[in-house]
């Protein structure tokens, strides 16, 4: 139905910890995972499902770890990925950061959690709030806490412990909107490359702001790639300064202030503010690409 085994690997493909749930896939199959991944990556065919013979690897990457599920059945793939992300969530709740070190530092709890989170390939209780009621990192506390099963484990509403009371019944909603855009270059770069003799190249670079004069961009850097064997550079700039960075094979032209402005997001609809609802617009990534 879902996973035969779950592995946590480091970036080199070494198994940090694993749990065999069903025993129908050879645990040594995981050795094929990283070579397979690298091969696909090289061919530009990276894919969240990789297969080797009859074994399928479903994987995600989190910081410096690969979380991999193996199966040889027609598993529910969306369940497996959801579970792997849930695993990350639970581990993060437990260890703050999920990374190679935290797995090693907490391997006993990791084993305990793996045992509790999934049984025979079926995800079980994965709510970290509830898990923390009976699986804790403090061995000393265990004896008391673990004497009974928290009722929430098998409750209808798993995410809310019983008996919580509030003075006021209020609900707060955060509407978070994140914008990721690829914008047209705000600074237009033109370059003319002229070869003079066997040994001399002249590169003329022009930068043009696309916006009104009053807006300014600070610390603009224009990087001009040059051949690796370039030497004796000579610069002439109308504004800013240029310098040769031989270790990167670049000429970097720095302009302290440049007439351009950043993108501004204006909410045009003029939404009505509702009590308890907060709209948060985050500026996501901006990427500028220029043709040089």
């Amino acid at each position: 139905m879902s996973a035969s085994a779950i592995f946590v690997l480091d970036l080199k493909g070494k198994v940090l910890i694993c749990r065999n749930y069903k025993g129908d896939v050879d645990m040594a199959e995981i050795d094929h995972f990283l070579p397979l991944l690298m091969q696909h990556e090289e061919e530009g065919l990276l894919c969240p499902v990789l297969s080797h013979g009859s074994v399928h690897f479903l994987w995600i990457k989190h910081s410096n770890l690969y979380l991999v599920a193996t199966t040889n059945k027609n598993s529910n793939a969306s369940l497996v990925y959801s579970f792997l992300y849930k695993l990350v969530e639970v581990f993060t709740e437990y260890f703050k950061e999920l990374e190679e070190e935290s797995i090693q530092d907490n391997f006993v709890v990791v084993y305990e959690l793996l045992d509790e989170l999934m049984d025979f390939g079926f995800p079980q209780t994965t709510d970290s709030k509830i898990l923390q009621e009976y699986i804790t990192q403090e061995g000393a506390k265990l004896e008391v806490a673990k004497s009974k099963v928290p009722t929430t484990v098998t409750n209808a509403v798993s995410w809310r412990s019983e008996g919580i009371k509030y003075k006021k019944n209020e609900v707060f909603i955060d509407v978070i909107e994140s914008i990721n855009v690829l914008v047209k270059p705000l600074i237009w770069i033109e370059s003319v490359i002229e070869k003079f003799s066997h040994s001399r190249v002249e590169i003329m670079v022009k930068a043009k702001g696309q916006f009104k004069k009053q807006s300014v961009a600070n610390n603009v850097e224009v990087r001009v790639p040059v051949p690796s064997d370039a030497d004796s550079p000579k610069f002439k700039t109308s504004t800013g300064s240029a310098k040769y960075v031989p270790e990167k094979n670049l000429v970097v032209w720095t302009i302290k202030s440049f007439p351009v402005r950043y993108m501004k997001i204006i909410e045009k609809s003029g939404y009505q503010a509702l009590p308890w609802v907060r709209y948060i617009t985050q500026s996501g990534d901006y990427q500028l690409r220029t043709n040089v």
């Binding site: 025993g23 530009g44 027609n74 990925y81 959801s82 025979f120 004896e143 009974k148």
Partner: protein, 949 residues
């Protein structure tokens, strides 16, 4: 202090030290030691030697320690089955512990210890746990049944655990229900015919109730199980759909997809005019859109599934084009899938938006993505006719970017656009031609060549363009070579006067200098076509091509139905049925959509009918053309072993393929050789006339130029016809073969005179036949022991058997022969008189004759006139008898002698004849009756030949 310290003890004697610590009296020390053991296990060290010591720590009230020991047991029990027994008692005891966590832990772990001996002891504790008062224990026990079933299915059945498991579907706790469903589904999957999940409206109701109350994972188990149910009618279907629909708003993508699966399946049963049907369609869109905000891997699974959903029910997402627009930071696998769906959703209404997007994508940085985007523009043009013009101009803009791979991809898709809208956008050809030099990928080169060939009449310098490709012909990939060959032939047919040299050049490159059979075959076919009938060639090569279809890569409908039933699973990600990648699932029934099951049957029936039609047709023994050439070219001299069946006279085999190579092959080769310098040397003569005569106007008939007549028109021989030239020296680098056939003492012989008209000595002769109507084959090697000097002739008699491979020829007695010597391989064809095949025991009993004559339908009778024959009936009878035509009876009626005769062919076919001879009349009448009427013509010709010689 973290656990990492346990990983650091790696010194020698570690195991020994650990052993001591494990047996320590201090609890804390014991626990530390077990942790160290587990740490070693984690890094892959073998700590199985500590098994007894670790098991000794099992009896503890410290839960953490117990868990660690259990973990150790799960890992090593299999390698130490005997010692694992030691743990049984503690397990059994733990299953009765007052703490439900320990009871559940024990039953969970026991199920994971896959040791037969332990499973026996597992049964009793499991039985108790299945009825435990605590739902946490019951839900764990439910899964344990599936584990035990995996180890020992029989035991589980014998112990009645399956029934208990079924009972748990009615458990009061939804988690228990969910796990019971999961366990049953798992067991049912490995036993497809067990009817375990006996779903009925009552159980379905229980499942639907539990669905609202259990965890996200439990919901998935239940939904996946529901998807296997087939409602009795549309009302039940609708009521299930109504109760499943709320799951569509779950935050977990897997829950959403499993709900979509149930709905997509049950929707099939709803009448389309039902209001609810429309409502449901509308409800499906938002959750599918929301899936695209999940993590990239989940997006990927969702997109692969949406691809299926869009093919099955395009109406659901037809207004949602925008959400499939690619984000620049999407991973490549998401980008590519989105592109696919964009094309599927492209319509006249949204094409402008789509094109604008695609054009942006074409300037992205990822090469694979850019290529696919360019291709997508082409697919849009083909799919949405109104947009074709805009697509073409977008592609032209992209070509102007001069980005190499963009240009190449654009040319490939423009070729497809031409295939869809012929003669509409030729104005762009000029632009395409400008980029000829930059094309370095075979697909793009082939596409460009195709375009030049297709529109050769409108491209002034088409010949120059194609010629430029021809220079490096042998370095090109096969697809380019094939395309170039076709394009040049097209060009020749369109502009014959200027391009003769070019076509000659490409034909000889393809047929002589290439090892690729596809190329060679295509070359021969063109050559033959051009040489026999240029008009036909024009019709074939320049035929109007069928337009390419709009939708590409659609999944075949039955597979699509099956995949819809597997939404969310690996099958839906791979777009393959589970049987294609899951071992041992071959016998498993393919899932089908419910409503379509009936309609599927009706679709099947014409299929079955046509399949039956095929089976009635004669078993096809027509070898492919490749085989044929292979046979001829493969000149090893192993005697033919296959005892082919006699030719089935009524089989009506097709002769088409043969015709191409029959008379043509040798003549083609002959004509061709005339022009080759190699022959010039060996022959001592100036190159033959072909290249020169190529300058003749085409209407004059290429057949003359190629000297077609060669092998075909062999005159029909008599009993022992005089030798005729089978292979002229012109065509065989100086080797001339003339020959005849004879039947001597019951043995068929091929009698040949081989003459060396070349300047050099010929040695190493060998011969081979192509398959033929009567299975003639050399009975031994060709015996020419001495080298054949220039101007020398040698006689050779080759005994033939009739046990070679059989293939019906046209004409029936045609024989294709390959002769090899130290210089080359040569081909010719000749015909043998069918009387060679009349066997000595061909005299039929009178009674049998009469009965047979009556029995053969009159339709099979044919009558021929033999003119100017001056023998009387007895002389005729005698003469015929010499060739194994036996007179059985003679009757004289009104001055007319009627001879009743029989003959039998080597393959057992009987031919019955009535020969009427009237005194004083030199014209005989022959009536032939045979169950295989196609031999009659040959037999008649033999009669004439036998009687007149």
């Amino acid at each position: 202090m973290t656990d990492s310290k346990y990983f650091t003890t790696t010194k020698k004697g570690e195991i020994f030290e650990l052993k001591a610590e494990l047996n320590s009296d201090k609890k804390e020390k014991k626990k530390e030691a077990v942790k160290k053991v587990i740490a070693s296990m984690t890094v892959g060290k073998d700590v199985s030697a500590l098994f007894p010591d670790v098991v000794n720590c099992m009896q503890t009230d410290n839960l953490e320690l117990k868990k660690l020991v259990y973990l150790y047991l799960m890992n090593y029990a299999k390698s130490q089955p005997d010692m694992a027994i030691m743990a049984v008692n503690t397990f059994v005891k733990d299953c009765e512990d007052p703490n439900p966590l320990i009871r559940a832990l024990a039953v969970r772990t026991m199920g994971c210890i896959r040791v037969d001996k332990i499973t026996e002891y597992l049964c009793e504790p499991l039985r108790k746990c299945l009825k435990d008062e605590d739902p946490y224990v019951r839900k764990t026990a439910a899964v344990c049944v599936a584990k035990l079933h995996d180890i020992n299915a029989q035991l589980v059945e014998d112990q009645g655990f399956l029934d208990t498991l079924k009972d748990l579907i009615s458990d009061s706790n939804p988690m228990v229900v969910a796990n019971a469903v999961a366990a049953l589904s798992e067991i049912a999957e490995s036993h497809p015919n067990s009817n375990l999940l006996d779903l009925n409206p009552q159980t379905i109701n229980k499942l639907l109730t539990a669905l609202n109350e259990c965890t996200e994972w439990g919901q998935i188990f239940i939904l996946d199980c529901l998807a296997n149910y087939t409602p009795r009618d549309d009302r039940e279907s609708q009521s299930i759909c109504e109760r499943v629909t709320p799951r569509l708003s779950h935050a977990n993508s897997a829950v959403v997809l499993s709900a979509v699966k149930v709905l997509m399946k049950f929707m099939e049963m709803l009448p389309k005019d039902l209001d609810y049907y429309g409502t449901l369609l509308k409800k499906l869109a938002p959750p599918l859109v929301t899936l695209l905000s999940a993590e990239p891997e989940l997006q990927y699974v969702a997109l692969r599934n949406i691809n299926l959903i869009v093919q099955r029910r395009p109406e659901i997402l037809k207004h949602e084009m925008k959400v499939f627009f690619v984000k620049y930071n999407d991973p490549i696998y998401v980008k590519l899938e989105k592109l696919d769906i964009m094309i599927r959703l492209a319509s006249q209404a949204n094409i402008a938006q789509v094109l604008a997007e695609l054009k942006e994508y074409a300037t992205e940085v990822d090469v694979d993505f850019v290529r696919k985007a360019v291709r997508a523009i082409g697919r849009c043009a083909i799919k949405v006719e109104q947009s074709a013009e805009r697509c073409v101009s977008t592609l032209l803009d992209l070509i102007q970017t001069k980005v190499n791979y963009v240009v190449q991809e654009a040319i490939v898709v423009i070729k497809d656009i031409f295939r869809k809208y012929p003669n509409k956008y030729e104005s762009v050809i000029a632009t395409l031609c400008e980029n000829l030099d930059s094309l370095d990928e075979p697909e793009a080169r082939a596409a460009m060549i195709w375009i030049v060939g297709e529109y050769a009449e409108r491209i002034d310098n088409a010949d120059e363009l194609l010629e430029s490709f021809l220079e490096g012909f042998h370095d090109e990939s096969t697809q380019v070579q094939l395309q170039l060959l076709t394009a040049i032939v097209k060009l020749f047919l369109k502009k014959p006067t200027e391009t003769q040299e070019l076509v000659q050049q490409v034909l000889s490159l393809a047929t002589q200098d290439s090892d690729n059979p596809d190329l060679r075959d295509r070359g021969y076919i063109y050559w033959r076509l051009l040489s026999t009938d240029p008009v036909a060639a024009k019709e074939v090569v320049l035929a109007e091509k069928p337009l390419i279809s709009e939708e590409t890569d659609l999944i075949e409908p039955t597979l699509l139905e099956e995949l819809i039933c597997h939404i969310g699973t690996l099958a839906s990600v791979y777009h393959k049925p589970p049987s294609a990648f899951v071992e041992g699932s071959r016998g498993v029934q393919h899932k089908r959509l419910p409503g379509s099951a009936g309609s599927g049957d009706s679709v099947d029936s014409p299929d079955t009918a046509s399949a039956a039609g095929v089976s009635e047709a004669p078993p096809a023994v027509i070898p492919s053309q490749g085989d044929l050439l292979g046979d001829l070219l493969n000149l090893d001299l192993t005697p033919p072993t296959a005892t082919g069946p006699p030719p089935a006279p009524s089989s009506g085999l097709q002769m088409g393929a043969m015709d191409l190579l029959g008379g043509g092959l040798d003549s083609l080769l002959g004509g061709d050789l005339g022009g080759s310098p190699a022959l010039g040397a060996g022959f001592g003569a100036p190159p033959a006339a072909m290249p020169a005569s190529f300058n003749a106007p085409v209407s004059g008939g290429l057949d003359d130029l190629f000297d077609l007549g060669g092998g075909v028109g062999m005159p029909m021989g008599s009993y022992s016809p005089p030798k005729t030239v089978w292979l002229p020296a012109m065509k065989a680098k100086g080797l001339e073969i003339s020959g005849t056939f004879a039947r001597r003492a019951g043995v068929i012989q091929m009698e040949m005179t081989l003459t060396n008209k070349a300047m050099s000595v010929m040695t190493d002769f060998a011969i081979q036949f192509n398959r033929n109507s009567f299975g003639l084959a050399p009975a031994g090697p060709l015996q020419i022991l001495t080298p054949l000097s220039p101007n020398q002739s040698i006689e050779a008699a080759l005994p033939l058997s009739t046990v070679g491979p059989v293939m019906k020829m046209e004409p029936l007695t045609n024989l294709q022969v390959a002769v090899k010597n130290n210089i080359d391989v040569f081909y010719f064809s000749c015909q043998y008189p069918i009387s060679m095949l009349f066997v000595e025991d061909g005299k039929m009993e009178r009674q049998v004759f009469l009965a047979t004559w009556k029995d053969i339908p009159n339709d099979n009778e044919s009558q021929f006139q033999i003119k100017d024959c001056h023998l009387n009936s007895d002389a005729a009878s005698n003469k015929l008898q010499g060739s194994n035509v036996f007179t059985i009876a003679k009757r004289t009626v009104e001055g007319q002698d009627m001879l009743y005769q029989s003959m039998k062919l080597t393959n057992g076919i009987w031919v019955l004849a009535e020969l009427r001879v009237q005194t004083g009349n030199p014209n005989y009448t022959v009536s032939l009756k045979c169950r295989a009427p196609e031999v009659s013509q040959c037999v008649f010709q033999s009669y004439e030949a036998m009687l007149k010689n």
